[in-house]
């Protein structure tokens, strides 16, 4: 294998492991959602729907498996793969995984929508974008970390899928960035990277809010107004910068025995 083939092989190997985790995770989310639909149907209530449940849960999931991404480094260096090929391969599979989650979620949403229409069960009106910030720093921060700007898939499925993709992508790379900082620099810099990750998440959310024409909130609410494409480009510039930080953390890192 030449260098390019090695990084693609790394991408494929990591992707195949993580897509199994992802399918298991989405399977659990689906089972929970089916139970919620069944409950709502028999109670005569509205249901939240799979897309919403996955939208919130996938962020957590991708962040956690992003944290685990550094665990693959010792394995790959141990079988003769360079840190560069590990980085390129893992980066490629990150996009694949985020795309996989977004597409699978949207596909299940379409099937669910068809079924709910058949059984005449209405969707609940979503208010994820309306955060209840009351000045309590801890509570406000947690809300801003957990919830990301949301697009209703009933209104614009393409955009909703793209926003989901962007959200899970950035959560994964933030997790990877934090674990690589702990691995490379130890606890103090690791904790600093957690703070940086929280700030990046809030900045990304407010840029999305600008792009989606929603009011900005929290610590970074004073960002200037800008056209939606510019906001999206800025979000992807931030993602590239996170990748760059991960590369710096892993480029010459000592592999621990």
């Amino acid at each position: 294998m030449n260098d390019r083939q090695i990084s693609l092989k790394v991408a494929k190997d990591v992707f195949l492991i993580k897509i199994i985790w992802t399918l298991a995770f989405l399977g659990i989310v689906l089972i929970v959602n089916i139970a919620k639909v069944g409950y709502a149907y028999f109670q005569g209530n509205e249901t939240e729907g799979f897309f919403n449940t996955s939208f919130v849960a996938s962020n957590f999931f991708m962040f956690i498996i992003g944290l685990l991404a550094i665990e693959f480094l010792p394995y790959f260096v141990g079988i003769g793969v360079t840190r560069k090929d590990y980085f390129i391969g893992t980066s490629i599979q990150t996009f694949g995984l985020a795309l996989g989650i977004a597409i699978i979620t949207s596909f299940i949403f379409l099937v669910e929508k068809f079924i709910l229409k058949l059984i005449d069960l209405p969707y609940k009106t979503q208010n994820i974008n309306e955060l209840d910030l009351d000045g309590n720093i801890l509570g406000d921060t947690i809300q801003m970390i957990i919830l990301s700007p949301y697009v209703d898939p009933h209104e614009n499925l393409m955009l909703a899928t793209f926003i989901l993709f962007t959200n899970v992508l950035i959560l994964y790379v933030l997790g990877w960035m934090i674990s690589s900082a702990f691995y490379r620099h130890g606890t103090v810099y690791g904790l600093v990277s957690v703070l940086i990750a929280i700030i990046i998440k809030m900045l990304k959310d407010n840029l999305l809010r600008v792009a989606l024409d929603l009011p900005t909130i929290g610590w970074l609410k004073d960002i200037p107004d800008m056209p939606a494409p510019v906001a999206f480009i800025l979000i992807y510039v931030i993602i590239i910068l996170i990748f760059y930080a991960i590369r710096l953390n892993t480029k010459r890192v000592t592999v621990k025995l």
Partner: protein, 288 residues
């Protein structure tokens, strides 16, 4: 294959793990890397395997620095005492994952080794005993058939029976597919016959790097009457002294000339060869 260390130094804060290490290893030989705990064996091997960079100096493999060098890294396998605590794959799945990355990997040979070490093909590796996990490391090291194979005390978890099987297999494999092995070990006495060359690290520095036979020939124990022995060895490097009554045994390091050997016989002294274990233990004593 050729490995050259040039002024290799590794520090952790103010502590030296390796201090100005220089050597050159060439050929498809089995090198014994010996040293006490903390002598720097694992640090040296991890630099050769590109697990870390040195603080000062460099390692050159076949004329190139190995760190982040894909061409070199895929030719070097480094196996150490891995715990496999989270390894839920079985041995076959693990080896199938490694195979594409190692150009010379032989699954057929790996299967033979799995049978030799009586490993359960279906059991998750994390459920293996310590000895079985050691066998997994040995299998990866041998079946990868990398031109440079570094085994860092991976055999310590095996019982004596499996260690014997491993030693025999190592020699047979070296005859079939000659390559450079570097074996670090504490088990000097039972492994000495495997080594073509010996490197002894002491407190981060190379104390000895020699062909096995010539190194062994430098050690001898002179036994006889205490005063006669003292007179005979007074100009020699003495690395161990034992006395029982008037009989004294002194281990010396440094070759004896034919005249000296004849003189010892004339004086009624007995000359016995020193083992690698004896030389290693006494040369690396704290007070040496």
């Amino acid at each position: 294959m050729n490995i050259k260390a040039e002024h290799l130094t590794l520090t952790f804060g103010n502590t030296y793990a390796l201090r100005d290490v220089n050597f050159e290893l060439s050929g498809n030989k089995i090198f014994g890397l010996l040293g006490r705990n903390g002598a720097g064996k694992t640090s040296l091997l991890s630099i050769i395997a590109s697990y870390r960079e040195p603080t000062i100096g460099k390692i050159i493999i076949n004329g190139e620095e190995p760190f982040e060098n894909a061409k070199i890294m895929r030719q070097v396998a480094f196996l150490y005492d891995q715990e496999y605590e989270n390894e839920s794959e079985n041995i076959i799945e693990l080896l199938q994952g490694i195979q594409p990355y190692r150009p010379n990997f032989s699954m057929e040979y790996a299967e033979y080794l799995i049978d030799l070490f009586k490993l359960d093909r279906k059991k998750a590796i994390k459920k293996f005993s310590k000895g079985m996990k050691s066998a997994v490391n040995v299998i990866i090291g041998l079946a990868s058939r990398t031109p440079i194979t570094l085994l860092d005390e991976v055999y310590l978890g095996m019982d004596a029976h499996f260690r014997e099987i491993f030693y025999k297999e190592l020699l047979e494999e070296q005859a079939r597919h000659p390559r450079m092995f570097i074996l670090s070990t504490h088990l000097v006495s039972e492994m000495d016959y495997l080594f073509d060359e010996v490197i002894i690290l002491d407190r981060g520095s190379v104390m000895v790097h020699e062909d096995f036979d010539s190194f062994i020939s430098k050690g001898a124990t002179i036994t006889g009457d205490g005063e006669t022995v003292d007179q005979f060895v007074k100009n020699k490097k003495q690395i161990n002294v034992q006395q029982l009554g008037n009989t004294k045994a002194v281990m010396i390091y440094g070759e004896l000339t034919a005249e000296e050997e004849a003189e010892a016989i004339r004086l009624g002294l007995e000359i016995s060869p020193a083992s690698l274990h004896d030389l290693f233990v006494h040369l690396t004593k704290e007070d040496q």
